[in-house]
Amino acid sequence: MPTLTVIEYHGRSHTIEAESGKSLMQNVLDNGVPGIDADCGGACACGTCHCFVEQAWRDVTGEPDAMEEAMLGMRPDRTGQSRLSCQIRVSDSLEGMVIRLPEFQM
């Protein structure tokens, strides 16, 4: 049950007790934090669970695969920190991770 910090675009911060084994996307939704749409339900197929993960955590979360890369490529607000939260599996090793949400999902 790692503790994560989710920061909305306009700065509101949420501390959530995440459930290991579930995706980051599902954890954010389950905790009622606004800013993730997740239209496709976690199939890496819509791009509406976009979030930003700091480089320091990339060793733990891993890098996006080819399909996630392709979906991220459609985001006009994509940065080097962009990830789809449905593709990150939460585990205890993410304790303390900070996730930022984008201005919009599309």
Binding site: D39, A43, A45, G47, T48, A70, P76, D77, E103, M106
Partner: protein, 413 residues
């Protein structure tokens, strides 16, 4: 295929004989039991003979997602509808391209319809909506398709492009001819007419582009394209310019138009849901998503297999057409609870397949949702009920699920 004969019995006809491309299924609104049987007994179905040649039908939600996210095995080239189009206008249209060209061209224009820009357009769109609704003839029967759906979609297109308002019917005309060839959707636009029309479209927009250059604080699509570094020189690549214009015009025309009419029809067929909406207009955003699912304004998208492969136990050959039936995926009970019902407060109303999934997912999805939301906000303020008083007439196509007329009366609050 004998078009004059009656449709076969969907439960008795042999699976091989189910002809899912037959436009009568859609014009007569008779498609439900045919797709239901295919989802149950033959979810990846082969139709050996059709006016469009042989093709595979993918009918289950999860299988559609699987095909759509596998762009290496299932290509969007040369085209994305059942019929092949012999085309001598070398459109650069990224909807019918694979990566990496698709990615470059889409990236150049997608920020134009990002929700950030949409907020700036909302006021303009609301103004048009109000004008149209305030002029509706209260107490008379009129055609919702003509008076509201077509009128409003045309005005919205003109507003989005800041196109000369009195010439706005040209936009609808160009949209109709761009996708109106007989080979693709059974239309009757001649080759010469199409070429002349699209040439005029390109010339008109090139002129508008040059006249508009340097105008500040404008949030129309042309100004946004001009301000974005990757598209600031778009007219220097005329076929890419024309391709993107047509995609924006066609993409925002039939789809929104038929969802506007579909919403009225759905609420009339489900009066309990209409009551819910009247009691709580905050349901409008989820009702809009449910309408887009329920209507499924584009019934299919097509891919072409790039190699011999096995999919769900069927042998698909390189070059085979693979048609993903969004209409069926949106009625798949294994993905959507009580799919035949129109339920405006579903827990996850955006979990539908009308926008497609994967890298070709509809770029204008948030724009479409915004337009429909604004329309319904204004309808609910004015009218207790938009009452359907006769049968809808449906268009002949296996691609666009649309209406040519719907008689209604409006009852003010």
């Amino acid at each position: 295929m004998n078009q004059a004969a009656a449709l076969p019995d969907p439960e008795c006809v042999s699976l091989d004989a189910i002809a899912i491309s037959d436009t009568r299924l859609y014009q007569q609104d008779a498609w439900r039991p045919f797709f239901e049987r295919l989802r149950r007994e033959d979810p990846v179905h082969y139709q050996a003979e059709s006016p469009f040649g042989p093709f595979w039908s993918i009918t289950r939600f999860d299988d559609i997602v699987a095909v759509e996210t596998n762009f290496r095995d299932f290509s969007s080239e040369p085209t994305i509808v059942i019929g092949d189009l012999a085309d001598d206008i070398p459109f650069e249209m990224f909807i019918a391209m694979d990566p990496p060209r698709h990615d470059e061209q889409r990236r150049a224009v997608q920020s134009v319809v990002a929700p950030k820009n949409l907020a700036e357009m909302e006021g303009l769109i609301r103004g048009r909506v109000v004008e149209i609704l305030d002029r509706l003839p209260v107490g008379e029967t009129f055609d919702w398709v003509e008076s509201v759906a077509i009128n409003l979609t045309t005005q919205m297109l003109a507003t989005l492009f800041d196109f000369p308002f009195e010439e706005r019917s040209k936009l609808t005309y160009w949209s109709d001819i761009a996708a109106g060839s007989p080979e693709i959707a059974g239309g009757d636009v001649s080759h010469e007419e199409r070429l002349a029309g699209l040439t005029e479209c390109l010339e008109t927009f090139t002129r508008i582009w040059h006249e508009r250059r340097g105008r500040e604080e404008s949030f129309d699509l042309i100004s946004l394209l001009q301000r974005d570094p990757s598209t600031a020189d778009l007219p220097e690549r005329p076929m890419e310019f024309l391709g993107n214009l047509c995609l924006l015009i066609v993409g925002g025309n039939d789809t929104t138009r038929n969802s506007i009419t579909g919403g009225v029809l759905a609420l009339n067929q489900h009066p309990g849901e209409y009551d819910k909406l009247r009691a709580d207009p905050r349901l409008i955003p989820s009702m809009v998503s449910e309408t887009i699912r329920w209507q499924t304004p584009l019934m299919h998208m097509r891919r072409t297999a790039t190699r011999d492969l096995e999919f769900q136990g069927r042998q698909i050959k390189q070059g085979d057409k693979v048609v993903m039936w969004y209409l069926s995926g949106n009625r798949d009970e294994s993905a959507i609870e009580r799919p035949e019902e129109f339920i405006i407060d579903r827990p996850n109303p955006r979990h539908h397949i009308s926008f497609g999934f994967g890298i070709h997912r509809c770029m204008g999805n948030r724009l479409a949702e915004m337009q429909l939301r604004v329309l319904w906000e204004e309808i609910m303020q004015r009218f207790d009920r938009v009452e359907v008083v006769g049968e809808p007439e449906r268009i002949k196509s296996n691609f666009v699920r649309g209406y040519s007329s719907l008689p209604v009366r409006v009852h003010p609050r």
